[in-house]
């Protein structure tokens, strides 16, 4: 493994730890009465592997479970947390809360919390790229879950991207849960990628808890899109380790299944791999963890110090 690759994995571990610490901080805030949040604990490798394989010129559409994607893209945890708390320094000036955070400055656009909303808009974003808007050669990545794959718009979106030959990467994080319903109650096994193939798009299905596998698969897909102009489809098989929305006691979750996936925690897997190959030592890991904790503490202080938006501005930004 080259020095660059080792450096990338260390950076990916730190980003995954930052995402985990950020979301765990939100859970704590929740218990103190902050608005509800949908975490992606257990899915950090999907976010980091996919986003790392994209370039700054590319556009990203995400959904209600977006913190990992935003942080992987370089979002400031302080401005994210300010948004969740409804403060004026949030990315959306407190209008979004946790559920629809966009950060156009990072290329994260049109975040929708309507399951499937991101799939409805993504072809248009990619069409604009194809028709010369944005930077040349840029592509769009749309991130959604297995729940969105059960929406009719999933099929309309994939079909249109294929027919119009759009530079669009579909990324389904199959986390096995659709709000409070397990995926096995809603679709046949391995349905998602086969549905996509039925529309004529090339698919890959990989372990979403293995950041290397996600990064490599995404890199292949992105290269194919840039080379051919055709859409690509990626299914990342992963697991939502926490409930649908905090607070959630997960009483509806099968304990053995949860334990199995806790044993496949993507952060744990990456840390063990780095230790086993002597790419990091215990002291290095501890230093990383300390940096992450300091950033989250600073983020929380920033968010809590951020002023509330002026009440008189509550109808600003409705119309252009």
């Amino acid at each position: 493994m080259s020095a660059i690759e080792v450096q990338r994995r260390l950076q990916q571990l730190e980003t995954m730890l930052l995402i985990r610490a950020y979301e765990e901080q939100l859970v704590v805030l929740q218990r103190k009465g902050a608005p509800g949040t949908c975490t992606s604990v257990g899915q950090e490798a999907c976010a980091v592997g996919v986003i790392d394989a994209l370039e700054s010129r590319d556009r990203i559409l995400t959904n209600h479970r977006s913190a990992a994607h935003l942080i992987a893209r370089g979002a400031d945890p302080g401005r994210l947390m300010a948004e969740v708390l409804g403060r004026s320094d949030g990315y959306c000036r407190g209008r979004s809360g946790s559920l629809h955070i966009s950060a156009a400055e990072l290329g994260v656009v049109l975040t929708s919390t309507i399951v499937g909303g991101e799939l409805s808009m993504a072809p248009g974003v990619a069409l604009a790229q194809k028709m010369g808007q944005g930077e040349p050669g840029a592509i769009t990545a749309v991130l959604f879950g297995d729940g969105a794959a059960c929406e009719g718009i999933f099929h309309e979106s994939v079909n249109l991207a294929v027919q119009w030959q759009l530079p669009l990467l579909f990324v389904c994080e199959n986390n096995q849960w659709q709000a409070f319903v397990h995926r096995r109650e809603t679709m046949a096994d391995e349905a998602i990628a086969s549905w996509a193939r039925g529309h004529g798009v090339e698919t890959q299905r990989v372990d979403g808890n293995d950041v290397d596998a996600v990064f490599e698969a995404t890199t292949r897909s992105v290269a194919r899109i840039r080379a051919t102009g055709q859409p690509q489809f990626l299914e990342l098989v992963t697991y939502r380790l926490r409930g649908h929305v905090e607070p959630d006691d997960q009483s509806y979750v099968d304990a053995a299944e949860l334990a199995y996936w806790q044993g496949r925690d993507p952060i744990h897997l990456l840390r063990e791999a780095l230790l086993a190959s002597d790419q990091v030592d215990a002291a290095g890991l501890e230093a990383t963890q300390t940096r992450v904790e300091r950033r989250i503490a600073a983020a929380l202080a920033f968010a809590e110090a951020s002023p509330w938006p002026e009440a008189a501005t509550f109808t600003d930004y409705v119309y252009a």
């Binding site: 979004s96 929708s112 309507i114 990619a126 604009a128 718009i153 930004y317």
Partner: protein, 336 residues
């Protein structure tokens, strides 16, 4: 002045705007099939036939609009908009606000509606009020070919998403249009189609001509009606309605759509809250029923406001005042 029907006026506006701005594109079920001349002049990339899938047509327009293009989508018939509600209401209408102003959605959604073709309730449903109710959207519903042209151009140039309703019954009616079609008609401006001092008739789309016919007949019996064509339902030209009402003191609102929570109800509320003192009689509404539109010509037409109803209502308002004056005890009769 030239003569032109609404269909041609719309086509001409699309052509002019595509010529004027390379970011304008047309998408929808059959747009390339129906406008081969636009495909020829502007290319297939800008005139796109789509799958028969309204949700993704509208959703793609929203994504494209936020990314630098200015799409016009032809959704064919208004009831099909039900499939596109998420894109229009939740995305185009809300994501500018929810993002703290990071995006704008310069897009126009065309949809036909209204009686005239006997197409039944799943092709004919005047649901404009649903979109007026949705924050972030503009809603337009013209009555004359010149406005179909001028308002469509304004809508395409606007940075806000606009739902543009085309009354089926007006599509093939000719009207005067300026020889020079380079002028636009601003959004949010009503037109006074006829001036009068006794009663204000507020209408839009096909009920404008209903009110004009009624006004002519009212004149014959000595009642001077003022006819206001709203043209834009949102933004609504409240000042034009209030100015006329303050002059006449009587208000009748005429719409083809169902009256429940509709535009006429909004205008009535406007009168009650902003010009109560000017009212010399109760506000009257003449609307379609709370019922789906039938296909049978006889039933379809029975649901549409007619000039006779407007005349009866206007004469009723005139009589109301004299009746009220009779009931009012004279000052001299009051006990000291």
């Amino acid at each position: 002045m030239a003569r032109m029907n609404a269909e041609t006026a719309i086509h001409q506006a699309l052509r002019d705007e595509m010529q004027r701005d390379a970011r304008v594109l047309l998408m929808g079920e059959g747009v390339a099939t129906k406008h081969p001349d636009l495909v020829g002049d502007f290319g297939a990339a800008r005139v796109r036939n789509t799958p028969l899938a309204e949700a993704i047509i509208a959703g793609s327009a929203v994504g494209a609009a936020a990314s630098g293009l200015r799409p016009v989508v032809d959704m064919l018939f208004a009831p099909f908009l039900a499939y596109a509600m998420d894109a229009l209401v939740n995305s185009a209408g809300k994501l500018r606000y929810l993002s703290g102003g990071q995006f704008q959605f310069p897009m126009v959604t065309l949809a036909m509606t209204g009686s005239g073709w006997c197409v039944g309730a799943q092709h004919n449903h005047n649901l404009e009020a649903m979109f007026v109710h949705a924050p972030g959207l503009q809603v337009v519903m013209p009555s004359e070919p010149a406005d179909f042209n001028g308002l469509l151009k304004s809508a395409i140039r606007s940075d806000n998403p606009t739902v543009f309703f085309v009354d089926i019954g007006l599509l093939h009616q000719e009207g005067d249009v300026p020889d020079d079609l380079s002028q636009t008609v601003p959004l949010g401006c009503a037109a006074v189609r006829r001036t009068g001092t006794d009663v204000t008739l507020v209408a839009y789309a096909k009920t404008v001509s209903v009110c004009m016919q009624a006004a002519e007949q009212l004149q014959a019996v000595g009642v001077e009606a003022e006819v206001i064509d709203l043209r834009s339902l949102k933004p609504l030209d409240e000042d034009a309605v209030l100015a006329s009402l303050r002059k006449t003191g009587r208000l009748i609102v005429v719409q083809e759509a169902s009256g429940v929570c509709g535009i006429a109800a909004e205008i009535a509320a406007l009168a009650a809250t902003r010009a109560f003192g000017a009212l010399r009689a109760p506000v009257a509404r003449i609307t379609g029923p709370d019922a789906p539109s039938a296909s049978s010509w006889a039933l379809e037409q029975a649901a549409v406001p007619q000039p006779d109803e407007v005349i009866r209502a206007a004469l009723g308002l005139m009589r109301h005042e004299s009746a009220a004056a009779r009931r009012q005890p004279s000052r001299a009769a009051l006990p000291n």
